[in-house]
C-alpha cells in the first residue's frame, strides 16, 4: 500500500514553511529532496567512517571503501546494469555525457560521421556533442518533435543510417514529460551499426529502468534527482567499449603504473575515476536507491502517473492556459504558460504562496524555439507530492492571473 502521508514523514524539508505557508515543492525535475535515511547515511559516514577509498589499509579506509563499492553495486542493480564493472561514478549526468563525448567521441568520430540527437535535448546532451563535432568534423542530426511533443519516429528511421555512429537521446523530457521509445531507437541504431546513449536524468528517478532491456551502450543519470545528494551521478557503459576508450581525466587512482614519460591505466571502473571521488555522496546515492527500491519503482511510477494526469486535467480547465507535451504516456511533470502572465512572474507569485515551481528555458533553448516560446513554467512531481498540492498550485495560478488581470482593467 503506497501511503504518501507516511512517505512525507521521511522528508524533513517538507515540514518547513515558506512565506508562512507550508512548502509545496514542485521543482523535482531540477532536484529532489532527501529522506532522513539518506541524510543519516551522510552523517554516519562523516561521523564514523570518513576516509579516502582504495588507498589506506587502516580501519576507516577499509570501511569507507566497502561502503563506496557497496553503493556502486546497489546502484548497478537498481538500474538493471549487467555488471558493476561498467558503472562509473561521476559528478552527475552532465559529466557522464561529457566523459563519453571526450573519451569515446574524440577518439572514434571522423569527418562525415553523424551523431543523431533529438530537438528536445537538455543542453547537457547537446553541447558536449557540439564540442566533439567541432573537433572531429562529425555532424549532428536532429530527430524532430511532433506538435504533440512526441518524437517523429518516421524521421528518426530516416535519419539513423549508415553514417550514424551514435544515437544519443533523453529517455524522458524535462520539459514535455515525453517518454522516448529508447528501446526502438537502440534497435535502429544497432542495425545501422551505431552505439546508443540514453540520458536517464529524468527517467532514473521516475521510471523502472532496466539497462539490459533498453539495449543501450551507455546510460547516464544523476543522484540528486533520485533523492540522493548533489555531486554524484553515474555512467554505465559496456565494459568492452570502456576498455577501448582513453581515460577522461588523469590523476590518482585511475592508473596502474606511472613513469615519468608514460602511464598505464587501472581496471574498470577505476580507469575513469581519477582523484578523490565524492565518496560521501556516492554512499548517500546508495542509500537513496535503497529507499526507492523499498517503495518500488512500479509503485512510484503509478503514483506519479496518477498525480501527473490529475494535474494535467485540472490545469487544462484553466482558461487560456497552454499545456506542453503529450496528454498521455508522460512522466509526472507539466509545463505550461498563461498568456497574460510571464512564467518568471508566475513563479514569483507562486513563491509568495510557498509553492516552488520552475520557470525559464529549462536548459532546452532549442526546444523552446521549436515551441515558439521564450520560457515556460513547470511543475514537476515526485513520490511525496499529493493531489492537495496540485490543488494549491491550481488555486494559486488562478489568483496570480487575477492579480495581474487587475492591472489591465
Amino acid at each position: 500500500m503506497y501511503d504518501v502521508e507516511e512517505i512525507r514523514h521521511d522528508f524533513p524539508i517538507l515540514e518547513r514553511e515558506v512565506n508562512g505557508k507550508p512548502l509545496v515543492y514542485l521543482d523535482n525535475a531540477a532536484t529532489s529532496q532527501n529522506p532522513r535515511q539518506v541524510i543519516q547515511t551522510l552523517t554516519d559516514y562523516y561521523e564514523r567512517h570518513n576516509a579516502n577509498v582504495h588507498r589506506g589499509v587502516h580501519r576507516l579506509a577499509e570501511e569507507a571503501t566497502v561502503a563506496y563499492e557497496d553503493s556502486r553495486e546497489r546502484v548497478a542493480r537498481f538500474l538493471g546494469a549487467p555488471d558493476s564493472r561498467g558503472l562509473i561514478c561521476t559528478r552527475g549526468t552532465t559529466e557522464s555525457i561529457n566523459l563519453v563525448a571526450h573519451a569515446w567521441g574524440r577518439k572514434n568520430l571522423r569527418e562525415g560521421d553523424e551523431v543523431v540527437l533529438t530537438e528536445a535535448e537538455h543542453h547537457s546532451n547537446l553541447v558536449p556533442w557540439q564540442l566533439a563535432a567541432r573537433e572531429t568534423g562529425a555532424r549532428l542530426r536532429f530527430m524532430p518533435i511532433l506538435d504533440d511533443g512526441t518524437l517523429d519516429m518516421e524521421e528518426a528511421e530516416r535519419l539513423i543510417g549508415p553514417r550514424t555512429k551514435l544515437v544519443s537521446v533523453i529517455h524522458a523530457s524535462n520539459v514535455l514529460g515525453t517518454i522516448n521509445p529508447v528501446e526502438r531507437l537502440a534497435e535502429l541504431g544497432r542495425s545501422a551499426g551505431a552505439l546508443m546513449l540514453v540520458d536517464g536524468a529524468q527517467s532514473g528517478p521516475h521510471l523502472p529502468v532496466d539497462i539490459k532491456a533498453l539495449g543501450c551502450d551507455f546510460f547516464a543519470c544523476s543522484g540528486h534527482k533520485m533523492l540522493g545528494p548533489t555531486g554524484v551521478g553515474v555512467l554505465w557503459g559496456k565494459p568492452e567499449l570502456l576498455e577501448q576508450m582513453d581515460p577522461f581525466l588523469g590523476g590518482g587512482e585511475m592508473i596502474r603504473e606511472v613513469h615519468l614519460d608514460h602511464s598505464t591505466w587501472n581496471d574498470l571502473p577505476y580507469k575513469f575515476e581519477a582523484g578523490t571521488m565524492n565518496i560521501a555522496q556516492a554512499i548517500g546515492f546508495g542509500a537513496a536507491v535503497d529507499y526507492l527500491d523499498e517503495l518500488g519503482m512500479e509503485n512510484i511510477r503509478e503514483h506519479e502517473k496518477q498525480l501527473g494526469a490529475y494535474a494535467y486535467r485540472r490545469l487544462s480547465k484553466i482558461e487560456n492556459l497552454v499545456l506542453y507535451g503529450p496528454d498521455e504516456d508522460r512522466t509526472g511533470l507539466v509545463s505550461f504558460s498563461l498568456p497574460d502572465v510571464h512564467p518568471h512572474d508566475l513563479s514569483q507569485l507562486m513563491d509568495e504562496e510557498g509553492i516552488a515551481i520552475r520557470s525559464g528555458h529549462h536548459c532546452c533553448q532549442p526546444l523552446m524555439r521549436r515551441l515558439g516560446v521564450a520560457a515556460t513554467a513547470r511543475a514537476s512531481f515526485y513520490l511525496y507530492n499529493t493531489e492537495e498540492e496540485v490543488d494549491a498550485l491550481v488555486e494559486a495560478l488562478v489568483r496570480a492571473r487575477e492579480f495581474f488581470g487587475a492591472f489591465v482593467r
Partner: protein, 142 residues
C-alpha cells in the same frame, strides 16, 4: 499577496502593460540584442543619435514584467541624453540595483526598488540597460 504589492507596483505594471517606446528603429546607430541566459528572456535596444544626443530610443523583445517595465523606463530616462550622460545613467541605475545608490524619489525608477530583495530578478531589471551600454561600447569602437 502583500509582498507582491511591493514588487509588482502600479508603476511597474503600467510600464509593463503600456510600454513606452516599444518598437524598432531603422538605421539606428545602436542596435543591441541581449539574452538573459538564466531565463531565456531577450531584449533589443535601438538608439539613434543626433550629434551627441539620443534622438530616439526604442526597445523590443520579450520578457517578464520586471525586464519589460525596466526597459520602458530606460527609454524615457535616456531620451535626449548625451553619450556620456547615458553612460552615467546606466552606471547609476546598476548601482541602485545592487544597493549602492539611493533610488531617486518621485521617479518611476523608484518602483524598481522592490526588486532588490529578489536577487534572481535583478538581472531582469538590468537587462535592457546592459544592452544599451554594450551598444554604446560597440559604437565607440567603430
Amino acid at each position: 499577496m502583500s509582498m507582491m504589492r511591493e514588487l509588482y507596483t502600479q508603476v511597474i505594471m503600467d510600464h509593463y502593460q503600456r510600454p513606452r517606446n516599444r518598437g524598432e528603429l531603422e538605421n539606428a546607430d545602436i542596435e543591441e540584442h541581449l539574452l538573459n541566459p538564466l531565463c531565456g528572456d531577450e531584449v533589443t535596444v535601438y538608439a539613434a543619435f543626433d550629434g551627441d544626443r539620443v534622438a530616439d530610443v526604442k526597445f523590443g523583445g520579450r520578457g517578464c514584467s520586471i525586464s519589460q517595465a525596466s526597459a520602458s523606463m530606460m527609454t524615457e530616462r535616456l531620451m535626449g541624453k548625451s553619450r556620456e550622460e547615458a553612460e552615467k545613467e546606466i552606471s547609476g541605475f546598476k548601482a541602485m540595483m545592487v544597493g549602492e545608490k539611493e533610488f531617486p524619489e518621485m521617479d518611476d525608477l523608484a518602483a524598481l526598488k522592490g526588486v532588490i530583495q529578489y536577487p534572481s530578478r535583478i538581472k531582469c531589471a538590468t537587462l535592457a540597460w546592459t544592452a544599451f551600454r554594450q551598444g554604446l561600447q560597440i559604437e565607440s569602437r567603430e
